[in-house]
């Protein structure tokens, strides 16, 4: 209960500190900004450890080793090695090693897989000392990731986006909605046809396309304004409901 009250007061103070920028830049605002940046950075480290490295690597490795699934345990080092190689790009192997050691100490999480990971970091760091240009090796894991992403996206784009959307556009022109969609799609496509100068009939159609694009932008902007006001309402609701008991 007391922690909730403290948390609410801290959140309210930081909210007001950030909003104070609307009057003018001030030390309170800058302090809140720096606190935010610092906490975000710290959170990112804990996030990577608690949600990625520990459950996906350490815990899984330990579980497989306990179950005597040695191959399934040690094969986890392959993606781990790809991750370490990626660190060579910004020469982050030593900071990563330091962070790993600190996290192992803080969370008392000893595992052989972490020792191997640390050895990997050192093994990758030494060649970068000798020849910094070796960072080209970081392109391998990036290529691997891009390859997987592209493979997954290719089928999904066709199966889940392009084909359903194209097939939905081809509707019988029996009502106003279908006609508007048909005209809008054709006119917008013509607007993005750049192989011929937009003159004559092509110019007319592409101008209709611009109208449709502008309507879409307007709708999108209207929704964006609505979203920003909603966020403001959210903050005011917090201040007036959770912090000051004005709304009940």
């Amino acid at each position: 209960m007391i922690l909730n009250i403290i948390g609410t007061w801290v959140a309210a103070t930081l909210t007001l500190a950030i909003l104070s920028f609307l009057y003018k830049d001030n030390p309170l605002y800058r302090a809140a900004e720096h606190i935010y940046v610092g906490i975000s950075a710290g959170y990112a480290v804990i996030y990577a450890w608690s949600f990625d490295v520990y459950p996906m690597l350490v815990e899984r490795f330990n579980t497989n080793m306990t179950a005597h699934n040695n191959v399934e345990a040690w094969i986890l080092l392959v993606p781990a090695l790809l991750g370490v190689l990626m660190l060579t790009r910004s020469n982050l192997t030593l900071p990563a090693l330091a962070a790993l050691s600190v996290l192992m100490l803080v969370f008392h999480s000893f595992s052989w897989v972490l020792v191997v990971l640390a050895v990997m970091c050192v093994a990758v760091f030494i060649p970068t000392l000798i020849d910094p240009k070796i960072d080209w090796i970081s392109r391998w894991p990036i290529a691997f990731t891009v390859g997987i992403g592209s493979g997954l996206a290719l089928t999904a784009s066709f199966q889940g986006y392009l084909l359903p959307q194209v097939s939905d556009t081809l509707r019988p022109l029996v009502n106003a909605n279908n006609i508007v969609v048909f005209v809008g799609v054709i006119a917008t496509l013509f607007y993005f046809y750049f192989s011929k100068e937009h003159k004559g009939a092509l110019g007319t159609v592409s101008r209709v396309g611009i109208v449709f694009i502008m309507v879409a932008f307007g709708a999108s902007f209207g929704y964006t304004v609505m979203a920003r006001i909603s966020l403001l309402i959210g903050r005011f609701y917090f201040l007036l409901h959770d912090w000051l008991p004005i709304i009940r």
């Binding site: 959307q165 879409a216 709708a219 609505m226 966020l231 309402i233």
Partner: protein, 274 residues
């Protein structure tokens, strides 16, 4: 200096103050409003209503505190509706920061509706993997989620023993503030034909309508307005409904300022030409 010049040179802090008042006053005075229910919101309501009792609703928490004012009321209303219909709720997420928000909503709604963790709902937590995870759980949940977010094996929960992939999910709900909803539709909907509804921020709402029209999703809750309309449908007004008058006043002020600004600009220009 004439009236229009004075308006054009008004201190921007006055406008901030006016906007703050236009939002705060309706929150304090709480005027009751009714919002129109769109077909998109009705689609969400109907999709939940159409599920037989005991069906599994999987809610993906793909937003974080930056979008919570818009999306959190949707989660609370959806949980309330699902629990009222005796549906089993499985919560998961692609953003670790969204998990505490799911917990807050579950801890608020479940006791009200007399629902029990493990029997009526489960929180699987966050897993990295994004689109690979979406495709992977189409084969088997356990490849990614052997345990819930507390580390309890999911097979220790009775209803989870029969949940293996999308075939066992009656409805997939993506509550998202970015492109994750698109990914669910394209990767899970396109490949596995799982029925999907989307709750998203106002910014992303327009990009969801083509999916609705094409029948790829059953309904959309777009922004605070969508959440308020849904609260109205389930007859339980929450923070979204409370925020609607403030939303209207805020919009009214912005529209008025736009009109005044443009009229002033046109008049000043005409005067300048003369």
């Amino acid at each position: 200096m004439n009236f229009w010049n004075r308006i054009a040179n008004v201190d921007r802090r006055v406008l901030y103050l006016l906007l703050a008042l236009s939002v705060a006053l309706p929150l304090i005075t709480k005027p009751r409003t009714t919002v129109p229910v769109s077909e998109a919101v009705k689609g969400v309501y109907d999709a939940v209503e159409a599920l037989p009792a005991g069906s599994v609703v999987m809610i993906s928490i793909d937003y974080d505190p930056s979008s919570a004012p818009e999306v959190q009321p949707m989660l609370i209303a959806l949980l309330r509706h699902s629990f009222r219909r005796n549906l089993r709720v499985v919560v998961m997420g692609h953003l670790a920061l969204g998990l505490p928000l799911a917990d807050i909503a579950l801890n608020q709604v479940a006791p009200e509706m007399d629902k029990e963790y493990g029997r009526d709902y489960v929180n699987l937590g966050y897993r990295p993997g994004s689109t690979a995870l979406m495709v992977g759980i189409g084969r088997e949940f356990r490849d990614y989620f052997q345990t819930d977010y507390r580390g309890v094996p999911i097979d220790s929960f009775e209803f989870m023993r029969r949940v293996h992939n999308y075939r066992d999910v009656g409805l997939l709900v993506s509550l998202a503030h970015g492109t994750v909803a698109d990914y669910w539709i394209q990767y899970a909907g396109g490949r596995f034909n799982v029925p999907i509804i989307v709750g998203c921020t106002g910014v992303s709402a327009p990009s969801m309508y083509p999916y609705l029209r094409a029948g790829q999703i059953k309904g959309i809750l777009g922004g605070l307005l969508g959440a308020a309309a849904y609260e109205q449908l389930i007859e339980h007004r929450g923070s979204a409904s409370l925020g609607m008058p403030a939303q209207s006043w805020g919009h009214g002020l912005i529209i008025a300022l736009l009109i005044i600004g443009n009229v002033g600009f046109l008049l000043s220009r005409r005067k300048g030409k003369k």
